[in-house]
Amino acid sequence: MSHETIDFEQELRDMLHRQADRAEFTAHAPDSTTVPLVAPRSGRSPRRLSVAAAMLFTIAAGAVVWIVSDRIDRVRTSPDESVPTLSTSPATSTASTLAPSTTSPAPTSTTPTTSTAPQVRLDNATLGALLGLAEPWAVSSAESLSGGFAGFSTTIQRWGLIGADGVSLDRVLQLTVMRAPDGLEEPMQFQPSLTSTVSADWRTVSYRYSAIAFGLDADEATAFVESLQARDPDNPMNGFESPAENLPLVEEQIGTGEELPALTWLNIELAGPDGSSASISVVDRDGIAVSLGAPNRRVRIGDRIGVLSPPDFPMLSVEWVGDGIRYRVNVADDLDQALEFANAITGRDDAAWHDILDIARTNGTATEPPAIQQRTSFLADQLDEAGTDTTLDTAIDDARIAVTVTGIADYQFLITRYRAVSVEGDRPAPDTTISEGDVYVDPNTITVLSHNGDVIRVTCISATATAARHCDDGDGQPNHLNAMVDLAVTTAHLPTATAPGTRYDNTQLVFNSLPTLDDFATEHGYGSFHLCDYNGLPDSNPPPTLTPILIPPTD
């Protein structure tokens, strides 16, 4: 070999090392040079929020999240106004106008504040006894979170037209007001969001506002909000009046804006004999419950059962408000089941549930509050979770993940390159299948927001199948594998955002592969899944099979 060749090879070698050293990668993980080969034993795993907890978080903190969210547009107010007065006509108005901004900044997500209070977990047997639930329903997991998310007293008002059923609202706008630390004004801009609603967040110097409307388009919602007039120009927490006859005020909850003690809630996951599942959430505070869907699913204070999800919604929810307590039941598919659970709750009065919450607060095992998890932990956690009955959801840095999971196929998403990314979505439709190279087409929405123009990758890292909830691993005893059954490890690549805030729907997600349930079972040593009923008897029903949904033809 000539010297020339040797020199060139050395130059090539040096160049490769220079380039490798020069490359800058996203710091998802601690630098390998500073991490010991064996990760330190922390004695605990990062706290994981169960799916139900995530859902409850969405519900319980929904208003707060909306309000504290930074994805709020700037309101145009006169310089000396900190409170918008919403007048009936320009001639009489001394107030600001609330006009959509055409150059609104990219939305960013805000992780809700968590308190440092410990969470408390009650063992399932205790909870089962407290609930008084009879077989065949069983508590598969339960946790109570005491001091989870702190809240603020908000003012919530709803204007709408009561539908023929006397409960739902045909056209409704809900406005939430919360006191906030002084900050820059941000304009109002209604935008379409999930579940056929339009929503907007904005703020004045001292108050944050959030509005969500159903049955109104963005222009109508904007016009309506602009027509509102503050009862007390110095304190919008006192609420607003609408001069519009066609959209009367139907309910309101006037708050003070003061910080409230952290919520205590109880999440209970239940498993049924036929592979179904449900969750019950009890929160020690009343108020207008915010449904996962459109706000037209009305909850009236004092209602015992206030909300039923629309027929085409993939999850049935019943929620209502008691005396200083709020209840919610989520069931995958069966209204009767929802009502059964609801009855199980209503079999005890509010005071009894307060007692249960007190027990949950004080008698359980204290654990750490939810931790923001890094990607490595999140990935690694999957390993521990497979085969356990703990459901998992997570928050990654400042990303907000609100994936509604329940029913036949539950999907969770790992967000990488996650700065200021949020994902909101529903479960896929039953029997949806993703095959290699297929585009995930689903009537429900998975929305990915890119705030910085980065390529965003969404990895569906796990899925839960109802059939796997009750299986036999060979010992003849039914096991609850209602979490992290690795039905799907699949990745979606999203194109580079053309603009900050670009929304993608799930028709744009391209998944690489989807292993089958049997693949998972074999791979993880469960053998073939032996479906059984709750008594351990073989179930004649086959595991859920996933049928391909091919992408529509390219135009």
Binding site: A39, T376, A380, D486, T496, N512, T554
Partner: protein, 163 residues
């Protein structure tokens, strides 16, 4: 490139995975970057490789070796897979052209990425990781003679262009 058994036997699966992730991610990123020429793509491919590793965790004794093989394979095939995805995404009219080579400051770096990906991979494994042709062949799933041929032709092409 330690096997699982080299890690604290008392560690949980999560901790072992954490340790592997923390230890292997950066070197894997560098290898992937040298082959594909893009930090973005490298991160994607390494991410996919970790996901793949996780899926097969129970059956993998040497995570580092498995990862390296997976990363190399991902690098060799990513353009093909990317083409499939782009076909789906084309109708969405998002610009998703092939990743350009990052930091093209060095002429030799640019030239490297003009080479076919298999030649490039063989060069990276040989001159960056200092692997023998036998080891490189194992990672590239080909014969050692093929690796030697790829290296020979790659070096020759670079010299020709670099002259």
């Amino acid at each position: 490139m330690a096997a699982k058994s080299d890690i604290d036997p008392g560690a949980t699966r999560s901790e072992v995975f954490d340790a592997v992730y923390a230890r292997e991610r950066a070197p894997m990123l560098r290898v992937a970057y040298l082959i594909v020429g893009s930090t973005d793509v490298a991160e994607d491919l390494v991410h996919d490789s970790f996901v793949e590793l996780r899926r097969r965790w129970d059956r993998v004794d040497n995570p580092g070796g498995y990862l390296r093989r997976t990363v190399v394979n991902q690098c060799l095939t990513w353009r093909r897979r990317r083409g499939l995805e782009e076909a789906h995404l084309e109708r969405l009219r998002h610009d998703r052209t092939a990743a350009s080579v990052d930091a093209p400051g060095e002429p030799l770096w640019v030239l490297l990425h003009v080479l076919p990906v298999r030649q490039r991979t063989a060069l990276v494994l040989t001159y960056y990781l200092d692997l023998s042709s036998d080891d490189a062949a194992d990672y590239m799933n080909c014969r050692p003679s093929t690796v030697r041929s790829l290296v020979h032709r790659g070096v020759a092409a670079l010299k020709e262009e670099f002259r």
